[in-house]
Symmetry: none
Amino acid sequence: MSNEAEINETRPATRGSRRKEESRRKLLEAARTLFVEKGYHDTRPQDIAKQAGVGHGTFYLHFDDKKACFLAFVDEARDEVTQAAMNRIEGVTNLEDQVRGIIESTFDYGEEFPGVFEAAVTDPGLLASNEGEVPDANILEQWGDVWSDIIKGHQDDGTLPSDFDAVLGGQAVVGIMRQTSIVGQRREMGREDLAESMVRLIMRALGGVS
Amino acid sequence: MSNEAEINETRPATRGSRRKEESRRKLLEAARTLFVEKGYHDTRPQDIAKQAGVGHGTFYLHFDDKKACFLAFVDEARDEVTQAAMNRIEGVTNLEDQVRGIIESTFDYGEEFPGVFEAAVTDPGLLASNEGEVPDANILEQWGDVWSDIIKGHQDDGTLPSDFDAVLGGQAVVGIMRQTSIVGQRREMGREDLAESMVRLIMRALGGVS
Amino acid sequence: MSNEAEINETRPATRGSRRKEESRRKLLEAARTLFVEKGYHDTRPQDIAKQAGVGHGTFYLHFDDKKACFLAFVDEARDEVTQAAMNRIEGVTNLEDQVRGIIESTFDYGEEFPGVFEAAVTDPGLLASNEGEVPDANILEQWGDVWSDIIKGHQDDGTLPSDFDAVLGGQAVVGIMRQTSIVGQRREMGREDLAESMVRLIMRALGGVS
Amino acid sequence: MSNEAEINETRPATRGSRRKEESRRKLLEAARTLFVEKGYHDTRPQDIAKQAGVGHGTFYLHFDDKKACFLAFVDEARDEVTQAAMNRIEGVTNLEDQVRGIIESTFDYGEEFPGVFEAAVTDPGLLASNEGEVPDANILEQWGDVWSDIIKGHQDDGTLPSDFDAVLGGQAVVGIMRQTSIVGQRREMGREDLAESMVRLIMRALGGVS
DNA sequence: CATGAATGAGACTTCATTCAT
DNA sequence: GATGAATGAAGTCTCATTCAT
């Protein structure tokens, strides 16, 4: 008996917990599909459960409530996008190549999972129902911070001028990316042109172009 | 629709129409207050009517539905912000002064009517309930177009380089403004520093600074 | 217009409010029927509305929630029972006659509205869902207080000994009545015998019998 | 059922049955804690299992359903209270001393296990979910019967008058005790005064005082 | 034109119970 | 015997909208 328990500790994925993990996975996948397709307010926990092929109640076994599920979806999307971008610029040191790489990577992700990014960007503030709730940091703001780090690195080694706040610079980059890509897609600009314009605008904004 | 309004202004309003106009005004003011305070989804037509001091049913005499009311609120806010900005840069020809003027004007508006801008920026797409509805153009996108015109003017007279799409440039400006001002406020940066950084980032992005 | 308003003040039952009052009445009647028939936990607001012939939502126009409706039902029942008892002993000064009168009156009420009293006696503590809620005074306790007043009166004029606390005495009377009548009914004792035994037990307990 | 229990005591329990007995014990203790703390409707079988440190499913190995568990809790509490009272009046023949002894014993129990008595008194009728179910006799009614036996004994040996039904007398005693002790505690009367008043009221009610 | 009582589809969530492991 | 993930019927309550007055 105690033997078995110890074995379980080294192999934490017991039968039950593996099954539970599977359910959670199915639910998150379903949530992604539906949040993207119909948006937060038009997606019911019930729909997610059905799409996942589990019972209504199972939903609440994995998420405290609908909002928690949405936040989990956003977290996942953010991690994926960030990971993809990081992989793309692995080893790249030139700023312009980094900018271009991240933009390309974001476009790739958007093509592979259409709508996911847009859905994930829904302002969490909109979901707050209980007054006085912690206004969870926006995914865009978090992304801006990633950019801030990159910028700070280049300010330190002299590639970029230091006459502006790296924090605001990071947010500006995200602001440009968000707004131009939304409109660029809506007005059906070509991906190449769009990317090139974005790179130019961003590089210039940061003072990285003579 | 604006036609009709003008006709009404030229001929003396009947008793009924004056009363109606008054109701509409009170409702819109109430709507602004509540949409700003509690957001779209947590504001009920009933609340708006009560705050306006009219009966619930009266709401539907003036707006087809809740969404229409929200859109009217957004329209109004947009017009106010735009008007204020236009007044501020009246007669100003220098780009940097225009940029600074509009930013200052936006900040002023935000201080006078806290939260209105943020509320008005809610993506109308989120409100769509009927599938296949026309996703009304976002207020930010419309603003970007205003900037595009300004930029195009400066490209034509050689103040700005023409090596990027003025449309995207306009959106980029709006993107920078939105994202940096949100974060700037959240992190409690001083208004002066924030404005100065925004001006510098925008001017550089557009190639207006050596 | 202002004329009409003033008339309305003297005749507060406008058309709308009269209709509302009617709905409330129908709901309370339905609530009584169902709470008595199926108990608190097996009666749904929906059932009450249906039985009353109004829509689900109307229920919540008149009661904050299910518990509030139950409490309103209890209040009503208590008032009725109390009123009937008070009417019965109007002008009666002899204690034994008062006791007998109230017991008879309670039995009458129980025969006219079977189960109402039993249902109304449900401990409100059982309904508390939010921790720290005000534990509304029990209907029995309130009744005990009514008896306390009667007893105090007889202690003051020497009809009853003063060697016990009138407050406890009042509660004791209610305790006797409740427990003996429940069991008396369950074991199908005759009403006459039951009443007579109750009178004797109560009179003796209060020291009102030599 | 009590037969089976006794057999188990005489022959050495197998490993399995000992373990089972242990689980049942832990569950009943947990049930007592939670029923007292949160009441019947706010206590879920899951909570009981968790508090007992066993799996949810184990609950149903020991009790047919939630109601059965509650009834087992009530049984246990009743037996404890009764046993304590019986021990206290062991050898006491004087009625007043018996009454006082039982009251003291009940108070002691209430101090040692606060809330248990109150929780156990929940009318089982309230728990009935299947229509037409036998409404199990109330614990108070059972207690009244115990008193009836005591009273009958005193009627037989002439200590008490025989001009009232001993059954009702027993119920009356319980009614007095219940109602006065609830209110006495709520209004924070001193234990001594409360007990003394209760003794006097009960003794008089039964005609045991000159 | 104005009102506000009424509506009912539908939202979110809970929980007693089962059953495969 | 023990477990705990899964279930889904059922419950309470909301709210955008209508309509009789």
